[in-house]
């Protein structure tokens, strides 16, 4: 299945009398990594939750239209990965990975081998029958990544998935995620400009209240980019400058 793009039209979200988005319009390209970057509280995660049709805690206007470009129901095309690994402590690693199938009442026989293969790919073959509490933060997040992949959805939403990890583990996981999520439409929310530059085809910078997309940066060259690359560092300083300006505007 070709990954579709996402079309956001007239998205309006009000949260406690504060307008977070006012008729926001945005096209998210198909089969690419798109990242939302901006200061805390700007509404990056809320936008992601809006796309995933999850509870935002706010009021969504009736004119808000979020659709996939192939016109198939968006809910059925989405896999979601949050900042917390959300692994169920009562399930083993393999059971956690296959949770989606169990929750839908589907058979796991066909996907079990694929799950085991993916766990091997992320070097978790020794932990298949272990419980999450015996795993490190990086291993837990890799499990969550495999759980997202096994859902085999064309659109993957990631809300700061690697933010709780140390730098080295984060870089390693970014590379793994990039390799395993090829050809999917990925939307990433992050605070980390370097993460955005390493992985993204499009970086949407959010600013203001109500939030708008003030800038779209399209780094060139193949992903994942080398963090020590001169171009990466140049874009990073450019991004930091924009973020600093948006932060000043906000305060």
């Amino acid at each position: 299945m070709h990954a579709p793009g996402i079309s956001i039209k007239n998205a309006t979200l009000t949260y406690h009398n504060q307008i977070l988005f006012d008729q926001l319009n945005l096209e998210i390209p198909a089969g690419q990594w798109s990242t939302f970057l901006g200061p805390s509280g700007i509404g990056k995660s809320s936008l992601l939750r809006l796309i995933a049709n999850l509870e935002t805690g706010g009021t969504i206007s009736v004119a808000t239209r979020i659709t996939s470009t192939n016109h198939l129901p968006l809910e059925k095309s989405i896999a979601y990965m949050s900042q917390h690994d959300s692994l169920m402590p009562w399930l083993s690693i393999i059971e956690n990975v296959l949770l989606g199938y169990k929750l839908r009442g589907q058979s796991i026989t066909k996907v079990k081998n694929k799950a085991l293969q993916l766990l091997r790919q992320v070097e978790l073959e020794q932990a298949v029958n272990k419980r999450p509490k015996s795993l490190s933060g990086g291993m837990r997040q890799r499990t969550a990544l495999v759980r997202t992949l096994i859902e085999d959805k064309p659109i993957v939403l990631m809300d700061e998935p690697f933010s709780a990890l140390d730098v080295i583990t984060r870089l390693k996981l970014q590379t793994i995620a990039h390799e395993l999520l090829k050809n999917k439409t990925v939307i990433l929310v992050t605070h980390d400009p370097l993460e955005a530059i390493r992985l993204s085809d499009n970086i949407f910078i959010m600013q203001g209240c109500p939030a708008t997309i003030v800038s779209v940066i399209k780094p060139t060259g193949p992903t994942p980019r080398n963090p020590t690359d001169v171009e990466v560092l140049t874009i990073q300083s450019q991004l930091l400058q924009i973020l600093q300006q948006t932060h000043e505007v906000l305060s």
Binding site: E55, K76, S86, L99, G100, L103, R104, L157
Partner: protein, 242 residues
Amino acid sequence: MIFLRGIGLVISFILIWQLSIYFFKFPPYIVPSPYLVFMSLIQNSLLISQQAVPTLIETFLGLFLGALLGLSTALMMIFFRPIKLWFLPLLLISQALPTFAIAPLFIIWFGYGMASKIAITIIMLFFPVASAFYDGLRRTPRDYLDLAKTMQATHWQLLKRIQIPYALPSLATGLRVAATIAPIGAVIGEWVGSSSGLGFLLLNANARMQIDLMFAVLIVITMFTLFLYYSIDWLLKTLITW
């Protein structure tokens, strides 16, 4: 270590008991000595064990049925939300009524036999089980619910595979409390109206001023409650490891 601490506690308790009799010169019909109580326990062991049988049956049945009722109540309240609005006030009313005041009514309604004692035990312990389990079900982390929603979980599968397992440690807390209440419920029932059981024996010993026998029965009830609590605690820790 826990075992040694327990032994130490028992020895200290007996020592304080003996010393207070020695210093305050309590007569045996007010506070009997540990030795007298021990002798009474030995001499009346047959009587106590015979009377313990109905109490044990009432406790176990009351605990089992009360836990089952508490568990189903919590599930009903979470699964059919409108029921919660009607059920929660009733649940609170059932706990606001003093057990000693409604116990005679239960004797009238369910008779002098075991049924009334089991009913009293159920009324006393189903609330801690229901409220602890309901609280656990209600507190399922938002991340888990979000994940389930994006995975297109059915309502029943969400409850079965996420909400119930997540709430099991809370249920365990309710069951531990219930384990300590269950023998009290059975004894209260017997105290109010019965012809057998440890509560009945306590009442008779009290009427005949057999204070040493009363103490012996109280010790048996305490030991039984502790045994019940630690057995259930061990079982729950073995089964619920998260």
